[in-house]
């Protein structure tokens, strides 16, 4: 290798180092010294720098191509997969009702789907932003949304929810600012996934759980794996599948309870399921989905237990079903729907 070739190799290596976006002060000094040592060094380096415009052109063109390819792959997979969401849930808990020990999602399929997405998307599902710029997700009233995060983790957002995501080298940080979200987290012990919601912090390395915020606090429900929950006002506790914990806004935690997965997760299928739920509470839950809230007039049995399943998208049929179940009539006003006892 002659002199000029050696210089070109060095210039190339320096150029690549400079492109890393994380040159140390010492490295910069060494580079400066190398550039000053010989005018040919500077010329060779300059030549590489001049090529950066061309690199960008190629890189952007390649990225555009890969993006289109990836979209096609995802679309093809969606078509081939008749029921993409169902494959990620084991039939066991739906058929038999929820019992703590039986909440075992068919993780193999979930992992396969998640892993395939990640491998196919490595580099292209990465959102583009500097580390300090958070990813903002929000849903309108009545809207639901599912988003893939850059590591392959999935977030499902329920109605009227807001989420902020910042991934750093050491951790995956999420803040649930409002509403409800279900997380399917890619396993990575090196980079814990942390969710802050109201006065509680949730930490996992990779698993599936639901977080719901209300004005009074937040509820964490674990679907799979183990989840470490730290209320602001008490010591951390580890939850297992089937367990849920409510932490009030002032940080106080209630005792760990078990939750009915069929009811708690019905929202991810666009439904609301109630089992002996006081009518007042069920209405509050349903109203999250509607611009016009349903209100109960005097005389309506607000504590009466409600059991049933509703398709939340259709408010009219929900109102009709409730009216029928409790002998009520519905009156629509400009900003709400009022239910009154018949007669």
């Amino acid at each position: 290798m002659n002199d000029q070739e050696t210089i070109n190799e060095e210039a190339l290596a320096w150029s690549v180092r400079a492109m890393s976006g994380e040159m140390t002060v010492a490295e910069r000094e060494t580079l400066r010294a190398w550039l000053n040592a010989d005018p040919r060094h500077a010329a060779a380096f300059e030549e590489h720098e001049d090529l950066s415009g061309m690199f960008d052109e190629v890189a952007f063109a390649a990225a555009a191509e890969e993006g289109a390819k990836e979209l096609m792959r995802l679309s093809d997979r969606k078509r081939a997969d008749a029921h993409p969401r169902e494959t990620r849930r084991a039939p066991s808990w739906r058929a038999s009702g929820a019992r703590a020990s039986r909440i075992a999602i068919d993780r193999r399929q979930a992992v396969a789907a998640g892993a395939a997405l990640f491998v196919a998307g490595a580099g292209f599902l990465l959102a583009t932003r500097t580390p300090v710029e958070p990813l903002s997700l929000a849903t309108a009233i009545g809207e639901q949304q599912e988003v893939a995060l850059e590591d392959g983790s999935q977030v499902s957002l329920n109605t009227n929810s807001r989420l902020s995501v910042v991934y750093t080298r050491r951790e995956r940080q999420v803040t649930l600012l409002a509403g409800e979200a279900m997380f399917d987290v890619e396993k990575n012990p090196e980079r814990p996934f942390i969710v802050d919601a109201s006065a509680v912090r949730i930490e996992v390395t990779g698993t599936r759980f639901n977080v719901r915020r209300a004005t009074g606090g937040a509820t964490v429900s674990v679907i799979e794996g183990s989840v470490r929950v730290t209320p602001a006002g008490s010591s951390a506790v580890t939850l297992s599948p089937g367990q849920s914990l409510f932490v009030s806004a002032n940080g106080a935690a209630e005792p760990v309870a078990s939750f009915d997965a069929g009811s708690a997760l019905a929202w991810t299928e666009g439904k609301a399921r109630f089992r002996e739920t006081p009518l007042r509470e069920a209405i509050a839950d349903l109203n999250r989905y509607y611009q016009k809230p349903i209100t109960l007039a005097r005389g309506v049995p607000v504590e009466a237990p409600l059991t049933g399943e509703f398709d939340v998208a259709d408010q009219t049929s929900v109102v009709r079903a409730l009216s029928a179940a409790f002998s009520l009539t519905a009156t629509e006003e400009t900003d709400r729907i009022v239910l009154r006892p018949v007669g």
Binding site: G53, D56, A59, F60, A62, A63, A122, A127
Partner: protein, 210 residues
């Protein structure tokens, strides 16, 4: 063949893919607002295109256009971020780097379409991580540490990928220049660009600057 593609055909294709597309765009662009903008523009562009052209594969065109528009946005962001010291340097860079990412009609580029295709093929000759790292670095602005994380390799591996990518492209450029009889230095701006730069320099000189 020469029939124009029906509006309803395009609407159907869009409706089928819009869910997936929106989610992908949100993931790529980091927020819903920009994602919806891109979707809107994508739809309008394809509609316009369909008025004059037959579309064989609506789905492929939708994905290509959406990806190009997303890349355009990312490129805009990158330029805004790396805007440097002097406004003159900015302007000059703007003049020289007049690039479009390949929508149905694009302006004269620094490199021809064929050059770019050749370059991408050259990158594809290497293991896929080489092109991936290159894109993550130049497009997404990720540091090598972040790329190492994303790909599950070491930082020095990423450096090796980058060196391979840069070496390949540099070699190609040298070869392309040689074929065109251009001395091995700055990629040749087009004649229009040269004229604009000369005019600009004259203006600066008039204003008494360097």
């Amino acid at each position: 063949m020469g029939e124009k593609t029906g509006r309803s055909e395009i609407d159907n294709a869009f409706r089928e893919e819009s869910d997936l597309l929106l989610r992908w765009l949100i993931s790529r662009l980091g927020n819903r607002h920009d994602a919806e903008d891109v979707m809107q523009n994508c739809y309008l562009r394809i509609l316009a295109f369909s008025e004059e052209n037959h579309i064989d594969n609506a789905r492929a065109l939708i994905f290509r256009t959406a990806s190009n528009l997303a890349i355009d946005e990312i490129r805009r962001r990158k330029r805004a971020r790396t805007s440097t010291m002097s406004p003159e340097a900015d302007e000059e860079r703007e003049l020289i780097a007049n690039i479009d990412s390949g929508a149905p009609d694009c302006e004269k580029m620094l490199m021809t379409r064929e050059d770019i295709t050749e370059a991408i093929e050259a990158l594809d000759a290497h293991p896929p991580n080489v092109k991936r790292s290159f894109i993550l670095s130049r497009v997404d602005g990720k540091t090598y540490a972040e790329i190492a994380d994303a790909l599950g390799v070491s930082i020095s591996a990423v450096e090796k990928y980058m060196i391979k990518a840069v070496k390949t492209l540099r070699g190609l450029k040298v070869e392309q220049n040689r074929q065109e009889g251009v001395p091995p230095s700055l990629p040749e701006p087009s004649r229009n660009q040269l004229r604009r730069i000369a005019k600009y320099r004259a203006l600066l000189a008039q204003a008494g600057q360097k």
